[in-house]
Amino acid sequence: MGNPSGRQVRSRNLSVTDVTSAARPSIRFRGHSLIALVVVPEEPVSDWLAHLDGLAQRSPGFFASRPVILDVSHLPHDRDSLRALVADLFTRGIRVMGLEGADAAVLGPDLPPVLTGGSPTGQLEIPTGKLKTQPNGGPERPRPASLLIEDPVRSGQSICFPDGDVTVVGSVSSGAEIIAGGSIHVYGTLRGRAVAGSGGDTKARIYCRKLEAELLMIDGSFRTDDEVQPELRGRPVQAWLQDGAIALASLD
């Protein structure tokens, strides 16, 4: 099985008012943006499931509470085989929130909906270290919601940490990306893409010592390099969300 890849699922905030019946209150909708895990089963499915079990053993808790999308575009399927596969995943604690590439003819209320409009976010690193349990079998300590990266992040690498802040001591190269549920701190030069607040945290910020970023995104709002004031380029900068748009200011 290849590495599962991440997918950003995004929707806009909506508020719909039914003007024909002013007496009733308006129905409110809220947008939600999240990084989902896309799993791509391969034939033969039994072998693939066995692989998956191996992975779950090496990285216990990897799938726990993660939204999962099942991409079946390369898997021949009918309604029964798809139902069986979704059930097989369910018994492994993996709840499929949506399908990609499913044949429209097989869909029904007993299967998850087909999703469109997601954007890929690259491969997710599967943690190889086992979850730490106390030697005496006691409860695990809660994991601090931050990720420290001491090496430079190179072109083509994607660091995805939906659970909190990401701190990079070195630089983030052109063609690399950092996706954080919380804020992003880069103590070197930020040349690649920084996506903060990926789970909808509007308070998330991006800080860097030298701004040369290809893209800054916070909770779905973004700014490309073209839209950065020239006087801020190459400077220590912070970015935050103000009235739904990205604001930038020099840090010195």
Partner: protein, 271 residues
Amino acid sequence: MAKVLVVTSGKGGVGKTTSTAALGAALAQSGQSVVVIDFDVGLRNLDLVLGAERRVVYDLINVVQGEAKLSQALIRDKRVETLSLLAASQTRDKDALTEEGVGRIIAELREKFDWVICDSPAGIERGAALAMRFADVAVVVTNPEVSSVRDSDRIIGLLDSKTLRAENGERMEKHLLITRFDPAREMRGEMLKTEDVLEILSIPLLGVIPESEEVLRASNVGSPVTLNAPTSAPGRAYMDAAKRLKGEVVAMTVPTERRAGLFSKIFRRAA
């Protein structure tokens, strides 16, 4: 103890094969035993640059597939007897390279040579992945321009994650070799500054090889520039780089007199 060195870049045509031949010949001339391996299956070049194209009988794929013994496939250089070549196949498919087969060959070569130098194909596919897979040391070849630097950055990421050493949690030694450097174009701002390349890639500098007619002349006569024109600017630059690979400390001068000051400055930063 043998060192396995991969010469790699990501981007094509930046000077990997030229550098493999030049560094291999320079190390061999200094008395070390060296084998250079061409991993560019289907586009072999190293045999031409070494002037051995008419002496290739068996190649890397033959040995990987067990059709020939290593001793039958190694071609000894006629000028420097401590230099040998294992050629690539021009006719076979690169899928014929297997990790198991390459690993077996590299392990066998480690017993026989001081240096095993792997000339990687461009790209990040199978050939490039297998060329770096068993390496202890990498020479990352970069031209001072944006796309080459970005590809090198990508390759450094792979060296730190996809090699056997990285997977075992060991450090991969990496060196930057800037080639086709043209001081006049750098001055005019047409090429990235060496300092900027070093800042972006942040690995130590092994050398700066100037753009030079001598390189073309040497490869046209099938001789590495370090043999054909050892006192030319690129010849001296490669000689110095080879010494640094052996751990000798050599002042970093760009082999054109005018700009020596700048490079001694950079060397202090990168050392």
